[in-house]
């Protein structure tokens, strides 16, 4: 892993809360999160449902406002979405009336990146190749399987060549077999593009296989419980030694122990 010192995302004492108007109360989703993410790093957030992982990603993307503290991308406070940050959604969030190609083009239509038509076409083609969807340009999302839909989602995110890729449980709705293939694709793509990736998952295996660091977040309010370094060499996905190693089992056990109590709380409904 190359050691690059510049920190691309810096969250400092970040708190996010939501107003529950009906109960005249405030729900604190995330509390005092301080996290520095280096350029090119793959950071995975794990934690029980409702712990505020999505809030963190949404704050970095600029979709939701911060309550306290700050999130900076390249030293600039995040106030709105920008072309340097792209997102992959759990439910794909593809526009159903647009073809695969047209969905991938959406970011170019919405913002002026100063690209010529030819450059756009080349980039769309490159994105399609990267996610292995050549030949499906004219298909509509409803004609595709879940795994293919998410490939479109990833291609759309890559279209603007963003520095930061935010992924909110992108493979949660995909079956187990396709999921493993998608994880391998994700690792390959991020290695190829050198992007910084913030990835949310419920799967500890996914976290260990993809992440350079795994950030374990506690349940309500979401706080950083521990940050676990994972230093298996890449690519890890098609390397059977990684999954069968003793270190893998230990890491898995360690993270599960961190998450276990929190997960139990959610089943009890607090």
């Amino acid at each position: 892993m190359p050691i690059i010192e510049d920190k691309i995302i810096v969250a400092d004492n970040l708190s996010i809360s939501y107003d529950l108007h009906r109960e005249r109360k405030k729900l604190i989703a995330l509390q005092n999160i301080s996290l520095e993410i280096k350029k090119g790093e793959f950071v995975v957030l794990v934690g029980p449902s409702g712990c505020g992982k999505t809030s963190f990603i949404n704050a970095v993307s600029g979709l939701i406002p911060k309550s306290e503290g700050s999130v900076k991308v390249r030293g600039v406070e995040v106030t709105a979405p920008g072309p340097d940050r792209a997102m992959v959604f759990q439910d794909y969030a593809l526009l159903p009336w647009r073809t695969v190609e047209s969905n991938i083009r959406l970011p170019y239509e919405l913002q002026n990146l100063g690209l010529s038509e030819e450059e756009k076409a080349v980039r769309v083609k490159k994105s399609l190749e990267l996610v292995d969807l050549v030949g499906f340009e004219k298909s509509f999302p409803y004609e595709l399987s879940g795994g293919m839909k998410q490939r479109v989602g990833i291609a759309r995110a890559l279209a603007t060549n963003p520095d930061i890729l935010l992924a909110d449980e992108p493979f949660a709705a995909i079956d187990a077999m396709t999921r493993e293939a998608m994880q391998a694709e994700m690792e390959r793509i991020v290695m190829e593009t050198g992007q910084t990736c913030v990835f949310i998952t419920h799967s500890i295996d996914e976290a260990i296989l993809l992440g350079d660091r795994v950030v374990v977040i506690s349940y309500r309010p979401g706080k950083i419980k521990e940050i676990v370094d994972v230093d298996f060499p890449r690519p890890r996905m098609n390397n059977s030694e990684v999954k069968t190693s003793k270190k893998y089992a230990e890491l898995r056990d360690h993270i599960w122990n961190l998450v276990k109590d929190e997960a139990m709380q959610t089943t009890r409904g607090e």
Partner: protein, 291 residues
């Protein structure tokens, strides 16, 4: 989420995976059976009608022969009243009058209802100001307004069109409104992440998402509008299909009454099927199972 049945298989790796089966008899039947069954069904229905009215002891004042109805319909649709006639016995004349009113009414209802519903869905102030009036008028049986509009506008075409507009506009408003309100949050989030401003959010996401809702609204509007047509003409007017129903029944020409009813059914079904086709055309992704 992704259902296996929804997956369309493409010629991916193995070219032998998709094989040409050609036209089998079974396939031809599979495609045409709906049409054939319906046709046979209707033919049997009208033949039974004819047999019962011919051999049964039934007063043709109450139930005319099916053939008499069809003859009345054929003659009525192929002849026009002479120039300057006070009253036309031609079904075609009355049909054209009603159809023109219906189309005018629907066009006005769309012109009011679509922007109205979109505004109500998009702006919470407009919504809270207009919604009590929309719900009040939408829940009021429109027929109750007819005497009032006859008082305001007299026995005129304007009155008839007004009744049609009032009948058709509310389902259009309510559907467009609901479409905007139910636009999937993740689609909006995606558009925002990829740089959409407020205007783009509307015409790239909200409008296309709402389009099939608007078409369902128009579809319901057609049904309500037709009720409006007949009611307005029954109550006040000297032309239109509603008036012709009244007139033919008053003059004991029951075959004519039945002919007009049949025409109304055909007209209504054609318009509704047109909007269904349109809906499937503009929003194949919605995968709505129609009755």
């Amino acid at each position: 989420m992704a259902k296996a049945t929804n997956e369309i298989q493409y010629e991916t790796d193995d070219p032998n995976r998709i094989q040409d089966v050609g036209w089998t008899l079974k396939e031809v039947w599979r495609r045409t059976r709906g049409f054939i069954v319906t046709s046979v069904n209707l033919i049997i229905f009208f033949i039974l009608w004819e047999i019962i009215t011919t051999y049964g002891n039934i007063n043709s004042l109450f139930l005319p022969k099916a053939s008499a109805m069809f003859q009345e319909l054929w003659v009525g649709m192929t002849t026009r009243a002479p120039e300057g006639a006070v009253f036309s016995g031609s079904i075609l004349d009355h049909f054209l009058h009603s159809f023109k009113n219906l189309m005018t009414g629907l066009a006005i209802a769309c012109a009011i209802g679509i922007p109205g519903g979109l505004l109500m869905g998009g702006n919470k102030y407009v919504e809270s100001i207009l919604s009590p009036y929309v719900w009040a008028l939408a829940s009021l049986p429109r027929i109750a307004l007819v005497p009032l509009f006859i008082l305001f506008l007299g026995f005129t075409t304007t009155m008839q069109v007004t009744i049609i507009v009032l009948s058709a506009v509310f389902p259009i408003i309510i559907n467009a409104w609901a479409g905007v309100k139910t636009t999937e949050k993740s689609l909006l989030a995606a558009a925002k992440v990829f740089g959409a401003n407020r205007v783009q959010l509307y015409y790239k996401v909200v409008l296309p998402y709402t389009l099939p809702f608007i078409i369902s609204g128009i579809q319901q509007g057609i049904g309500r509008g037709l009720i409006g047509v007949v009611i307005a003409e029954l109550f006040g007017g000297s032309n239109g299909l509603g008036y012709l129903i009244q007139r033919s029944a008053d003059t004991f020409n029951t075959a004519m009454t039945f002919a007009v009813l049949l025409l109304l059914i055909v007209m209504s079904l054609s318009l509704i099927n047109f909007t269904r086709w349109l809906e499937a055309k503009v929003a194949p992704w919605r995968n709505v199972n129609h009755l």
